[in-house]
């Protein structure tokens, strides 16, 4: 989960995986993905019990909103190969 100067820089990275061609995200989308409601309460006294459990659902909803619904992003198993 890295920041690169551009997509071309990422593709030239020695560890770039072909599968991760779908792993790009714009900076505004990334800031939204990591700025969902629960993340705004990390200093609250009840963060761990109240807010952290909401994080997963928020993240899935945000990924759907920006169209990143593949198993790669959603963390779901890949469909069986045909």
């Amino acid at each position: 989960m890295n920041l690169f100067r551009s997509e071309e820089h990422a593709r030239r990275w020695k560890d770039f995986q072909p599968r991760s061609e779908e792993g790009f995200i714009t900076l505004p989308d990334l800031a939204g993905f990591f700025g969902t409601e629960s993340r705004r309460h990390m200093l609250d006294g009840d963060y761990l019990s109240t807010w952290y459990p909401r994080r997963g659902a928020e993240r899935r909803a945000y990924l759907e909103q920006i169209g990143k619904t593949s198993p790669f992003w959603m963390g779901t198993p890949d469909p069986p190969a045909a």
Partner: protein, 155 residues
Amino acid sequence: MPDLVLIDRAFQRIMRALVDSGRAPHYAELARALGLNAEEGRGLLRDVMQAYPIGWLHPETDYIASFPPLNNLPTQYRITVRGEQRWFAQCGFEATSATWLFPGDTVRVDAPCLDCGDPVTVEMRDGRITWVDPPGVVGHLAFGFGPSRGRPHYL
């Protein structure tokens, strides 16, 4: 049965210490702050990390290595607030979440591009991106989320 209120208090104490000083407390310091003995503090720390599995202890130790969005172990994602570079983010993605730990302040993220080593800089304030250099900066998820991908997704 772990005491959920105590786990919440411990979490807040760790996060607050990281924000205030740039480093996470040792479990003995955590214990003292919460009126526990050191061994109770160690158990409490383990309970916190179990409840917050996106962070981790350094292997074979009870030292906090990662407590996202911040990292106790330095990474290439350096965080500067009010002119002081005391903090590190767990990864490039979590770096964009650090803004929520410093309300009202500009949070600057500096990192080398892993391709060329040239700088990547992002500044945020209360969740808004206020400066990006170069303008084409992108996030990249190398291995995908989920255990089926086989590698830690934060890499």
